[in-house]
Amino acid sequence: MLSSILFPVILTLTFLLFIIPKRFKYAYALAILVCGVALTSAWSYVVLSGGTGTLEIPLLPWVMKNGLILKIDMLSAFFIAVVNFTVLTGFLYARGYLRPYYSTKNSLRFSIHYLAYLWLYLSMILVVVIRDGLPFLIVWEIMALSSFLLVIFDAEDTSILKTGISYLIQMHVGMFFILIAFLIAGRETGQMGFDALNTYFSRNSSLLLFILFFSGFGIKAGFIPLHTWLPQAHPAAPSHVSGVMSGVMIKMGIYGILRVLMSVQDNLLPIGIIILAVSLVSGILGVMMAIVQHDLKRLLAYHSIENIGIIGIGIGLGTIGLATDNTILSLLGFSGGLLHVLNHSLFKSLLFFNAGSVYQITHTRNIEHLGGLMKKMPYTASLFLIGSLAICGLPPFNGFISEYLIYTGMFKSLSAANLNQSILILGSVVGLTLIGGLAIFCFTKAFGIVFLGEPRSEEAKVAGDVGGDMIYPQYFIIGFIAMIGLLPALIVKPVFSIVSQSFGIPDTTALAVSSLKNLSQISIISGIFVVLVLVLLVYRHFHLKSRPVTYGPTWGCGYTAPSPDMQYTATSYAYNYNHLAKPVIQTKKIMRDIGEDEIFPALRKFESHSDDFFKKYLIDKPVDLISGLLKRIAVMQTGLIQHYILYAFVYMLLVFLLTYFNLI
């Protein structure tokens, strides 16, 4: 009962931000955030530890009869936990990140920023606990608006404002799909919302409605080809916001898809195949496009698409498992996908925070201008390295665990699968392998070029590490990553029970037990690995102590005057890959050829760009077409009052004639 009052109180208190003095705004916002996190974590804990059932919280039941009821089941509880962690660490990180802006931005801007951050948080919580259609759409809209306000924090830069508006428009296209889907279900059942979907799906075919929902939620999640907002909006936003948006906000799309899937009863196989196909494409193309990016944050944004792809592969396989009564595939697929939601929120926010730290110190996000930062920013570099290893899915970090669950689901189902399923599963295995290999390619490039070697610009040369207040929140994330990586059974066990409850998968106990046993073996071997590394490092330390150690320049093949410009660049690192991926990536090179008569070629410039194929043909081209058409129509806008009166007369005449001939 306490929650029914407390939650609305927290909602209201956020608005006091406007009257708090600028100095205390951060502390106030943090206090509210902590209250919110504490309250919602309590809900999440009650539901997850209770094991069964749904927690129902009516909001202010004395004021509103038949008012809003928050329903928290295990799926919601899981998402609440994920949201809480990332939003809180993001806000702790924001303190240091926003400090340079204190002198340039006024108090109102900060109020709006903090308010938007709090409301983004609260709306995400509400999205996962509201089941009724209309309130859901309202909080979904608040989520889009508040994130829009967060993206345009730096709106002095007009390109950022433009990006923000493009983001807002694309979010509304997504919302339109969801609205239509709810309306279709609502007309049939007389009730809008997720609870009504059960009734709708029991009477009608699910394919069309699911595709509508999938398109709507998919835009938020960033499945290719619905991803075009993502690589634009993430680099534009401040880094703590990019971390939260990429870490948890896009997962609201995944939540929506899962919530709808829970009600779907027929056509599960085609739905599973659709999800799987879209996810494979997203995963592979996402990482392929990430490799050629030069903007560090845009590179990470494309990786979000890749990871959404991995989550989708898990969900797609899980759905196929449901359709074919394959318990192994459905349990391990869904669990892998759901665990990857948590894992991705951890390492992606970590990577975005550190990309933000690099940006704050060097004022550039262009990889080609960085280098050698490992020595200048050791903490940031180490944190980024751990994030990179985790996102590549390498043991003993958390990314491996979720990919391992998906892989074992596939391999174990192979021997019992029929022809079509075998081909689907093998295709997914190959897809996931390729994604893994490409991710390693991408992150050796990102980490190697940004943090290793010699600095490639003056900014990188004089860099120093960021303050401790931007580093310490990330230790929590690291702790979590290591815990999931080394003791996976602890976290996979609740995930199994969430999945088997939410999707009604029968007889999972034996399978869960054997899977957890496998995971404990992984703990053991990972432990051996860590100990072995430590022992060898200590031995190496003492070994080198007793022998002469000298320092000198890097071997330059006999060349004695190397300069940092001679190092391998991000472009050259991706060169042979670019060659292979030409059909997909379409890198354009801009360079004037050297003429035959140019004996001494003058200074030249070389540029290369990689367009996003989908953005070009799905967004840019159609928009150009429409705006060209509208420009032609704009000839009518002459500014002369006589013309406008003429238009009115023509219109009236038209209406008169049409009525006269009974045409309207």
Binding site: L426, I524, V549, N576
Partner: protein, 303 residues
């Protein structure tokens, strides 16, 4: 445990056998078979020279890479004796752990700031990315054929399925594991360890700046990797469950044969042109796909 020890023994003479084969093939006597092990001893006695550009990554990477290979070794079974650690999907762990080792080797190369080493790093990651699908398709085929999903279970049940078609897998597995080993260890025809030009190297160029202890770690790692792949080859061609001494002898024989084959390939074959390598590596995935089609036919799923 026997398997673990045998792999260590095999690793100690494996590179020596390759060198000896190459020497004899080119009409020389060549060094003793244990010469590479002695070289490690020499390296361990020496001090180290580090580049001023390089930092902590360069220092820790060789140790991490070696640890990855040693831990990957723990999941390799021998005959019908289970591996030291065995669990469902351990080959996923095996492959990803080797990838972790490679990740560190690559960023260590980038840490020196040398454009040659950058080149080598890039080629290494590019080629090993391309070879990965072949390995996974092959293991998926084995999983489908035997119905198990761990190295130990797959190999101890490999021959008792009673199907004569298993020899198809022995042949394809033998071929693919050899090729994968050649690529993973940067040998011919993808890379040539003898090459003396930095521009054409892959693996050798990545370790140009390593010396002393670190270089010894890298060498031990590459010897072990050979023996690991040799053990995988042994497991697909020799049925499990025979007498343990016979098995041990066969194991060592297989390793020697594998080393001799590598030596002969390196003596009589030229290296691929660098830009032909992707095609060559992807052809392995194509062969692995053929084995998948065969398993579909055998298990009556296709036709």
């Amino acid at each position: 445990m026997t398997g673990f020890v045998l792999i260590l023994i095999a690793a100690s003479f494996f590179p020596g056998v390759i060198v000896r084969t190459k020497s004899i093939a080119s009409g020389r006597r060549g060094p003793g078979i244990l010469q590479p092990v002695r070289e490690i001893g020499i390296l361990l006695k020496k001090g180290s020279v580090f580049s001023n550009t390089s930092g902590i990554i360069f220092q820790i990477a060789p140790v991490i890479t070696l640890s990855c290979i040693i831990c990957a070794l723990l999941v390799i079974p021998f005959g019908n004796q289970n591996a030291l650690i065995s669990f469902d999907g351990d080959f996923i762990f095996f492959s990803y752990l080797l990838a972790l080792g490679k990740f560190f080797a690559i960023i260590a190369a980038l840490d020196t700031g040398s454009s040659f080493e950058g080149m080598g790093a890039n080629r290494e990651v590019f080629f090993s990315m391309l070879v990965e699908p072949a390995f996974f398709i092959l293991l998926a085929t084995f999983a489908m054929f035997t119905g198990y999903t761990s190295f130990s279970d797959i190999f101890s049940n490999f021959f008792i399925t009673g199907s004569h078609y298993v020899f198809i897998y022995s042949i394809i597995g033998f071929f693919l594991f050899i090729q994968t080993a050649m690529i993973e260890n940067s040998r011919l025809p993808v890379d040539d360890p003898k090459t003396h030009l930095e521009l054409t190297m892959i693996h050798e160029v990545m370790i140009l700046d390593n010396s002393g202890f670190d270089k010894a770690m890298i060498h031990i790692g590459s010897y072990l990797k050979f023996a690991v792949y040799g053990a995988l080859i042994y497991n697909v061609i020799v049925p499990a469950g025979w007498n343990i001494f016979l098995q041990a002898a066969l194991f060592l024989a297989v390793q020697v044969t594998f080393a001799v084959i590598i030596g002969l390939i390196e003596s009589f074959r030229a290296r691929n042109k660098m830009n032909k390598n992707p095609k060559f590596i992807l052809s392995l995935s194509a062969i692995a796909l053929i084995s998948f089609v065969i398993v579909l036919i055998i298990t009556d799923k296709l036709i």
